[in-house]
Amino acid sequence: MIELKEVCYSVKGELILEDIHLRVESGDFVSIVGPSGAGKSTLLNLIHMKIFPVSGYLRVIDCNVSTLRSKEIPLLRRKVGMVYQDFKLLDDRDAYENIAFALWATGVKRNTIKRKALYVLAEVGLSHKRYSMVTELSGGEQQRVSIARALVNEPYILLADEPTGNLDPETSSEIIDLLKRINQKGTAVVMATHKSDIVEDLPGKIYRLNQGRMIE
């Protein structure tokens, strides 16, 4: 599903990622662990095609970065959901509208939007708060909305960039459990985190990243 070989990424001559090899198969749960500034977010942004490598081979699902056309990127992103530490929700809307927005923005028909949005809200356990403004929700609930939004287009892969970064240990644990449940249903999960303790009990592969290089 995801394959990186000898991938390098630099900004203004400064090497951010060097000689990265990574392979994620369907249904995998992959953790990328490393301190702040190690290049974890950069690696996820490369997979999400927000940025592009300066050299190496990168393939995500059926898209090879060397032959990718810019208009194919939005279509790829529908198959690769992404959640962030800061949730990136629309503060002027409620939980339901945030999810419906993702469906609307990807051209889903009007009568399908409600059904899908309510289903995914139920999946993340937020049916009862569907009409709460996101600013009224706790950090954990906001992250659940963010995950629901990433899942609503039924992606093959879910990228999670420090999903527990802003959360207390108890809520972090709930979010990790949610990600595990999502993975058990068949979605590949790639999670980047600086908290090495939370990945110890996780299934699947663990990659350690430091100063832009895979060390393990």
């Binding site: 939005p74 929700l89 993702a102 923005a105 009007r110 939004r149």
Partner: protein, 286 residues
Amino acid sequence: MSLNIFYTVGEAFKGLRRHRFSSVMTLISITISLTILGGYLAITYNLKRGVELFKERLGVEIFIDNSLNSEEIRQLQTQITSLREVERAVFVSKEQAMEEFKAEFDQDVVAIIGGNPLPPSIRLELAKSYRTAGEVEKLETKMLSFPGVTDVTYHGEIFKIVHKYSRIGMIVFIALFLVILFASILLITNTLRLTILSQKRLISIMKLVGATKGFIRRPYLIQGVFHGLVAGVIACCIILLLMKLVNTVYGDILVITLWLLLVPVFAGFFLGLLGSYIGVKKFLST
């Protein structure tokens, strides 16, 4: 992929409601730009019309030999009227000329000098494209070659001055118009860009969830057109009110035409579309 047009339009108007303050400020800025643009066109149009009316009054008068009988005068008038340079030719008899003289100077010349010294004449109103000093000079030569024409008079110097200044005026008008148009485009584009900038987060989330560029762009184009059209209609009303006010105070000196009033509306539509297209383009490319 469904176009979801109703949702797109709904989202565009929800966006306007959610960002009420910036929407109102955008509307005010665009209205000011369009009022200046439309008002300038209205003033210039009326000035140009005034110059044309003035030129129309600068007619040419052809004096005729006293010995011509009425049939010969009628033939001459027909001959002159058929010329492409002539819009209208009106015969003024000796008696009519005397009446006008009396009305103008309040003196009975016939009583003083014992006869009517004024010759009959034909007054010409020139076709629009021949109201220049050069054309009038050519026409004078042509007229003098007609049998029975004794003299041709016109305000040659005034023709030259009006022609010269109306040409300069036209150049100044076009230059100023381009400046105002350019300023309007800059202002409207920048205003809409700033409005879109305030929704940068929304655009980045749309990109994040996989919205295509066209899909992201659409609601902003609708908002831009809406802003432009509403501002255009408001500008149109302001211009109309101001012109009516001037006409009320100074007595119908301005002509209000439909196309003049529609200019701000059409300009609003196109500049709104252009401005929002340019504004959103920047965020789509990054």
